[in-house]
């Protein structure tokens, strides 16, 4: 059972990038007096994720990709085609985005 999935490290890096950007935005909007302290002030410590949460996120995103492919595949199959084309993806996109 070789389930292809995402690398937790990759997801972690993406999260960290997003969170550090938000932290910088927060820093700029709040008047941070002690600039030298940088990332270590209590209020502005960056969000992190624990390892199980990362693995679970990998699973979640993997399911997103899987659902996209499976749902589009069903449309393609209904049309009797065995290659998934953008038109098939288009059909399933609204519901997919609502479901996630």
């Amino acid at each position: 059972m070789e389930e292809e999935t995402f690398d937790p490290e990759l997801i972690c890096s993406i999260f960290k990038l997003v969170w550090s950007r938000r932290a910088t935005e927060r820093n700029e909007s709040i008047e941070v007096v002690d600039v030298e302290v940088g990332d270590r002030t209590k209020k502005n410590r960056q969000t992190t994720a624990n390892s199980n949460a990362l693995k679970l996120s990998c699973e979640l995103i993997r399911i997103f990709v899987t659902e996209a492919v499976q749902r589009s595949g069903m449309i393609a199959e209904a049309e009797g085609i065995n290659k998934i084309e953008p038109t098939h993806l288009e059909r399933v996109l609204p519901q997919l985005l609502l479901d996630f």
Partner: protein, 138 residues
Amino acid sequence: MDGGDVDGGVGGGGGIEKDEEAEERTELLRDRFRLSVISIANAEAKKLDMEASEPVVACVADLAFKYTAEQLARDVELFAQHAGRKSVNMEDIILSAHRNKHLTGLLRSFSQELKGKGPQTERKRKKSSKKEDKAIPS
């Protein structure tokens, strides 16, 4: 990330460099992410005895990246903050899928598996096996 080179404080040269750096990092991560999506999507299509065309895979990769970076990351950060935590945990991830019951169920069972495999050396063995017995449907 070194906050040490904040000279003038508000933006200025330092700000633009940081933006470019962030852009580059984002592109790098997006590319690595795309590669993973390509292999997952192609494997899925194969399971269905089908083939996924290139534009479809590229599109799914972009959507998934957007979902991850824009929705998921923001949502779970907010949930953790709302709970007064700085660290995102599994409950936050599960909560982010609250709109879709089926998905929530899948995530919950996956999380049970993860907890089961977890480090049993951290807690006393007796306690962790008791928890496993009780924790079946939560």
